[in-house]
């Protein structure tokens, strides 16, 4: 066996399963021929039917002996795949009568051996486990071969694989070592390294692979070496192995489709590069590498997840990035995966598209109760600040899967927003018992302490969480918040800026930075940060609100109005009625007040009061506007209620005094409300005719309205028009 048999960057590791390589050399050569042919024709041939590549894959070649199973069914129902997996686990792993995984798999596979691409992809996705699986397909593929007929080395290999699959690492190591010594086959070296890796002896794997200079000759070995080095924290060495740039970028096979349904090694290498860069804090490069990883092979979900969940992309970039992806590699799963990916994207824009994808998944694939799909809904609700609904949804997920770490951070945030400290307590305890080494656990604990207002403890646990997982954004922000709450602006600023460096794709750290500077009255710096945040995400109402406030403070009311209106529109689009809704309206009202647009100011203030309940300052401001409009009675009323809520409100006191003075000097003439009122009443009483002629009433009332210039039922037309 020459080194040439290890897979190129276009292939996944399926190809190098030692059994594939050795069991049937005829098939092997056939594969080489064909893959060679595809090398030349690949880029130009466009007329391929989508399932052709699968048919060409070496595994299928072997299966083809089993004629009826040769080509996969055009539409592989998801259900049957699941059934395959289920049958494997059910009948196989736990069946008492079956002695080894080999036998069992071959039995299971005999029934449904064809939809190979799926389980293979799955297996190769998790390199550290289950690498024995290929064996299953081999044996399944060769139902006629009797194990007893195989050469001795093959038998040992099978043994090694089964041991690896059952996590008998010592057996696997022992046997693998012997096989390697016997054959000196690089593939055996690779598998031995695989065993070392699974066993956690990374350094041994590295030594093994580099000792025989395998890593320079085989892409696969190079990948494994780099992976081990990353695990060991030797990022520079790992980078040396994978190279600073993708070496295959310009090679002619760049656009070649993967032939066995696994993940291209080139993509995995790019992913490793991205990981190394992000560990080295060069996020721009990391971002590029990860993007490349997904672009090379959309099946590389690790990279996609890394990009999205670590906020390396801004909302707009996320959507642009998705449109550059090529899903055609996935055949009939194309729509499924695209929709799944869409549901992971930022919920600040293209809500309809997300919803469409969501509905598609639910209707076509019956994924209604799937956690990943629900998670998208959860994220959407959280973005819209609909915490109650979000919480409910989270709980339905957590009922099935109590420690789902994709949902838990949102769940914890929701509980914090809703003040559910009791539940926070419970969940943090459960987490701490079961996952003492997980960042989310300590994030939960920190949040609990923040909820009960024990800031210093909260800070301790937030920092613990971010040490455990430096890419955990919420923990960083929570950590910074603890300083902000205590009014330690300087420290808060530095914490926020660290966060903003770590998470270039999210605007929140910059927004909070701006808020800190706003509080410190450093308006120019605040503006700068807000603009940075605005560049990242111009859709967040909170940010727009803060910008409005900034311009308000700068006395640039027109601009303030502009931004606040934008904020108003954004929050309307998000369809949320949260605390930010109230603050946006309050601020808008104040801006109108400053601009002298009394009517609108009054309307806004009233809306705020109706939605958010009474608030001393809002009432005071409303009183002020009324006073300016010379509606003394209303002014005095609202100032009074303002003072009733907070008797020491100096501004309200002064204004009240002023209003009462004005009230005194108001002349009791025909137009004074009192006089008009008394006249109306007199009229009503004096009306002795038994018929209640409403026409007369009308006249008097209208007359009164006109005179008073006061809207007694100004409630009717209270819809906001903010033009």
């Amino acid at each position: 066996m020459s080194h040439g048999n290890t897979p190129s960057q276009h292939n996944s590791t399926i190809a190098i399963s030692p059994l594939v390589a050795n069991a049937s050399s005829q098939a092997q050569s056939q594969r080489q021929q064909q893959s060679g042919a595809r090398h030349w024709s690949g880029p130009t041939s466009t007329a391929q039917t989508p399932h052709n590549p699968v048919a060409y894959s070496p595994l299928v070649q072997k299966i083809q002996k089993n004629a009826s199973l040769a080509t996969p069914a055009p539409h592989v129902d998801n259900g049957s795949t699941a059934g395959l997996l289920a049958s494997m686990t059910k009948n196989g792993l736990f069946g008492p009568a079956i002695p080894s995984t080999l036998r069992k798999v071959s039995i299971g596979a005999r029934d449904i051996p064809h939809s190979t691409s799926k389980p293979n992809g799955l297996v190769t996705g998790n390199h550290d486990k289950d690498d024995g699986n290929p064996t299953a397909y081999i044996t399944a593929g060769m139902p006629g071969i009797n194990i007893a007929d195989l050469p001795a080395a093959e038998k040992l290999r099978l043994w090694r694989h089964d041991a690896l699959m059952q996590h008998h690492y010592r057996t696997a190591e022992y046997i693998g070592d012997k096989v390697y010594s016997m054959t000196q086959d690089p593939n055996d070296a690779f598998w031995l390294a695989q065993v070392y890796y699974s066993n956690g002896s990374y350094i041994r794997a590295v030594e093994l692979l580099s000792g025989d200079n395998l890593d320079s000759s085989s892409v696969m070995c190079r990948y494994l070496t780099a992976l081990c080095l990353i695990k060991l924290g030797k990022y520079d060495e790992a980078l040396d192995i994978v190279g600073e740039l993708n070496p295959f970028r310009d090679s002619p096979g760049h656009l070649v489709k993967n032939q066995d349904g696994g993940i291209k090694l080139e993509s995995s290498l790019c992913y490793l590069r991205g990981k190394i860069y992000s560990a080295q804090n060069s996020f721009e490069k990391a971002k590029e590498s990860l993007k490349e990883a997904v672009q090379v092979d959309v099946k590389n979900f690790e990279a996609f997840d890394e990009l999205i969940s670590n906020n390396l992309l801004t909302p707009n970039e996320e959507w642009d990035f998705l449109s550059t992806l090529d899903f055609s590699d996935l055949d009939d799963n194309e729509d499924l995966i695209r929709s799944l990916y869409v549901t992971r994207l930022s919920k600040y824009l293209n809500l309809e598209e997300v919803n469409k994808a969501h509905d598609f998944l639910v209707e076509e694939y019956k994924l209604k109760d799937n956690t990943g799909v629900i998670q998208s809904k959860v994220d959407m609700l959280f973005t819209q600040c609909k915490f109650t609904n979000c919480l409910k949804l989270c709980e339905t997920v957590l009922e099935k899967d109590e420690f789902n770490f994709t949902i838990l951070p949102t769940y914890i945030s929701c509980l914090y927003e809703l003040g559910g400290k009791n539940k926070l307590f419970l969940i943090s305890h459960k987490l701490a018992e079961n996952f003492p080494k997980h960042a989310t656990t300590w994030f939960g604990v920190g949040t609990y302490y923040m909820c009960i207002n024990k800031i210093s403890e909260a800070r301790k646990y937030f920092s613990k969480a971010s040490i455990l997982d430096p890419t955990f954004g919420q923990a960083w922000i929570g950590f910074a918040h603890t300083y902000a709450i205590e009014g330690e602006h300087e420290q808060a600023v530095s914490a926020y800026s660290t966060a903003s460096r770590f998470f270039p794709g999210t605007h929140l750290p910059n927004l909070f930075l701006g808020m800190q500077y706003l509080l410190m009255d450093t308006l120019s710096l605040a503006e700068e940060y807000f603009i940075l945040a605005y560049d990242v995400c111009p859709y967040d109402p909170l940010l727009l609100n803060e910008m409005g406030v900034l311009f308000f403070k700068k006395n640039d009311y027109l601009k303030a109005k502009k931004y606040l209106k934008k904020a108003w529109e954004a929050i309307k689009r998000l369809d949320s009625e949260s605390k930010s809704w109230v603050s946006i309206h309050t601020n808008l009202a104040h801006t109108y007040r400053k601009l002298g647009d009394n009517e609108r100011a009054v309307r806004c203030f009233k809306l705020v009061l109706e939605t958010a309940g009474k608030d001393t300052d809002t009432l005071c401001a409303l009183g002020f506007v009324y006073l300016r409009m010379n509606r003394i009675e209303k002014a005095i009323d609202s100032l009074h209620s303002s003072l009733a809520l907070c008797p020491s409100n100096q501004a309200a006191q002064d204004l009240l005094k002023q209003a009462l003075d004005v009230n005194l000097t108001t002349v009791l003439d025909e137009n004074h409300p009192l006089v008009v009122n008394s006249r109306i009443q007199e009229y009503g009483v004096g009306l002795t005719s038994k018929k209640r002629s409403s026409a007369n009433f009308d006249a008097s009332i209208i007359a009164k309205r006109l005179k008073q210039g006061q809207d007694s039922t100004d409630d009717e037309g209270d819809e906001m028009d903010l033009e």
Partner: protein, 627 residues
Amino acid sequence: MDATATIDFLNDVKSKLRRSASDLSKWKLYNSARWSSEAILGMCDITDLSTVNPYMEDDESPLKGRKGIPDPENNRRNSDDLDNMTGKEYDLYLLASTLFDCKEFDRCAYYLTDADHPCLKFLQLYSKYLSWDKKTQENLESTLALGKSRGGEDDGNDIDGKIANNAGLKRCDIDSDTNNKSQKIIDIGNGDTTSISILIKDLNKFLELHDSDTSLGTALLYYLRGILYKSQDINSTAMTSFLKSVTLYPHNWACWWELLNCLARPDESLLLLKLLNEKFGMDQHNSGSTSGQIMLRFFKLSLFQEFSGNIDDFIEELDYLLNIFPNFAFLKTQHALINYHYMDYVNSELIFDQIIKLDPYRLDDLDVYSNILYVMQKSSKLAYLAQFASGVDRYRPESCCIVANYYSAKQEHEKSIMYFRRALTLNKSCTSAWTLMGHEFVELKNSHAAIECYRRAVDINSRDFKAWYGLGQAYEVLDMHLYSLYYFQKACSLKPLDKRMWQALASCYEKIGNSEESIKCYVRALQLSINSDQDTSILYRLALLYEKLKDSENCENYMVKCVEAEQSSDGLVTDETTKARLWLARYQAKHKKFAEAYNYALGVTHGTSQEIEEARSIARECRRRME
């Protein structure tokens, strides 16, 4: 209207009321149900007529009920409701209903969470609301701790400074705790919060979905919506909700009552009345042919109590209703109340006596009766009433108020205050108790506490002119005339035809030194005075004000009027007339009209010794000059 038509109509009213009584008690609106059933029993007897009436489908004979045979109509009704509900829903209802009765509101709401039947939804939200109410009550520190300042938080940031706080860290949410308190959000620590606005949102969502539904459930939901909005002080929306509910289902008295409570100003009442007249077709003069109109008539009576209006119309309506419901205590009470408002205490007392005879254990509105007895100083009767009421139920706010009145009559103001407090603990929205407690504090010269009480009263019911007036007076005592002026204005706008209000306003203006306005007010008071030419005190004050303005012509004019008032009131001499005479004497003497001056001076026979002395000297001087 011929006899059969009348009987049909009466039967219709009766069956509607019956139905409402059973429906409303089924859906836990006990007060309305009570009102309806009281009304049925108070109705005139129509059995005699009904025996000859061929159109009567169901036997209304009271014997039937007495025999204990279930009313056939009742059975049908129950099955009606069952038809609307699926079996599952009915089972749910049974559970929820018992939970509600056991006061396990949270559980009740929980079981009904997914209910789609409007009535069940109502029950769910209603129990949620009640649970919220209970918890906020529990959380509130004693509201009755008076004189305590209500917590001074941040002070002295001017109006612009506010916006910054506002904009602060909304996501960090520093003061969520204080926030919760002010917005009265109840949560039990598991993220399941309840606040009025959440309830409203839920309710609105449901109503949007069931827009076209006109069943009882929808009516009840609208009623609840009104209550929720009202508790948020959004009266206009509350009013529309109540109106909607009343149109859908007019036999819910509590809803009418709440509708009334939404009104804040007399002019609104006129508008509302017009609208309701149109809605219930009262314009067409087909006097009362639907049971809905009957309800509207009841409403009009209550409206009149609050805002007054044309007394003749009121009497007409009252007579009409009394014909139909001769034994309905509620109607009689309305009659008594109107007499009380018109300060005809004797008649009012008589009617109350009747009511007590008719329905001896009915405590509603008896606190008004005690007020009457208090004003009439019938302390023995008041003592009896107090004993009696607390014998019936000592933990009813009404009985506490009566006892408080009793102690007040005995000048034991502390005890009186204690009982008012008790009444308020039982029902914190009892306006009259707040106002009366304010009066007690005034008696004790504790203006600040009095102000606090009055303020609470107007917070709950801004139509209580007595409380506004009390506020004005209390501030007057404190020499804060600007405030006092505003409160008198408030009182005056509620009772613009009450001369006392204008007088109070005038004196207030006078004290601040705004003579012109003061004069206007006095003139207005004079116009409203029944015997305007005899109100010497106003006349004298007017004269003085003109003097201050150096308008001697008008001044003289009013002084003369003041003196003339003496003649028209059969020579009743008051301080003012004496002073007026003296002034005129002085004035005429100055203008060398000695004869007149002499006459005036001679007339001064009462007054202080200095005045009489001065009058004598003027008379002497004048006589000397004339000679």
